[in-house]
């Protein structure tokens, strides 16, 4: 069963890559606004999570890289071996892993933003 046309999947793959490059650049530059080690201190990291704009940025990075990363893994695994059952297993396995990672990361972002620590 085909979930989505492969050409559409690759457009999503490239779109998520371009989006992630810009957002990760902002994420890294946030570390450069102060001393690198100082920026990783507990209070500073919590302060970052509490900023709504930064929390949204982190959530977007989480989604974009998860989609791009697990689709990339799917492509690599499909290059190595083919077969209807194998392809279905790889596709659904990657989607499930992606959803699990986004859920875990979102849990951290939402709770840290709301101060539930």
């Amino acid at each position: 069963m085909m979930i989505m046309r492969e050409s559409i999947v690759m457009k999503i793959h490239y779109g998520t890559a371009i989006g992630a490059v810009f957002l990760v650049a902002i994420h890294i530059m946030m570390r450069m606004t102060q001393d690198f080690h100082e920026s990783l201190e507990y209070e500073n990291v919590i302060a970052n999570y509490e900023m709504i704009g930064y929390a949204i940025l982190l959530e977007l990075i989480l989604i974009l890289i998860s989609v791009h990363g697990f689709n990339g893994l799917r492509v690599i695994l499909l290059e190595m071996r083919q077969g209807p059952l194998y392809e279905k297993g790889v596709t659904y396995g990657c989607i499930a892993s992606m959803i699990a990672l986004v859920a875990y990361g979102s849990n951290t972002i939402i709770k840290a933003h709301l101060g539930i620590v």
Partner: protein
């Protein structure tokens, strides 16, 4: 059946260094794209789990941070920077090539059958990406150890 099993090299086919000589820098970029992609995915999963520690309080965060604030941790992060920059640079090259830029004009395949797409523009992009990757790793090391 036997021929099929011989053709299926799998990961051994990826990492066979003899193939770099046969196919050139493009083959090297192809395998490095996959290795850096897998490496970055593993790092990303680890990073999400690591940052999830912040919910366990300041003690757990500092304990996790102490593990990364070592020489080995910094070297590992420099490798992550390198993987990230190479994957990005080479990815942009691939996207542009798939849109038709820098792959030359179609021509009749004459001996020695050199593909138009494997030209100097592509090779120069790969070498430039490797150079930028080295610079980014050097800058990252300077910041982390500075």
């Amino acid at each position: 059946m036997e021929k099929e099993s011989k053709d299926k090299e799998g990961i051994k086919g990826w990492i066979n260094p003899a193939k770099y000589g046969k196919f050139g820098i493009e083959r090297f970029a192809w395998i490095l794209m996959r290795i850096t992609g897998l490496g970055l995915l593993v790092y990303f999963i680890g990073h999400i789990i690591e940052t999830g520690n912040i919910l366990s309080g300041e003690g757990a965060w500092n304990e996790m941070l102490a593990m990364t604030q070592t020489t080995e941790g910094h070297v590992f992060l420099a490798l992550v920077i390198g993987m990230c920059v190479f994957h990005t640079g080479n990815g942009i090259r691939l996207m542009l090539q798939q849109m038709g830029y820098g792959i030359g004009k179609p021509a009749r395949p004459d001996y020695p059958y050199k593909p138009q797409s494997l030209n100097m523009k592509g090779k120069a992009c790969i070498y430039a990406t490797i150079g930028v990757t080295a610079l980014a790793m050097w800058y990252g090391i300077a910041v982390m150890f500075g």
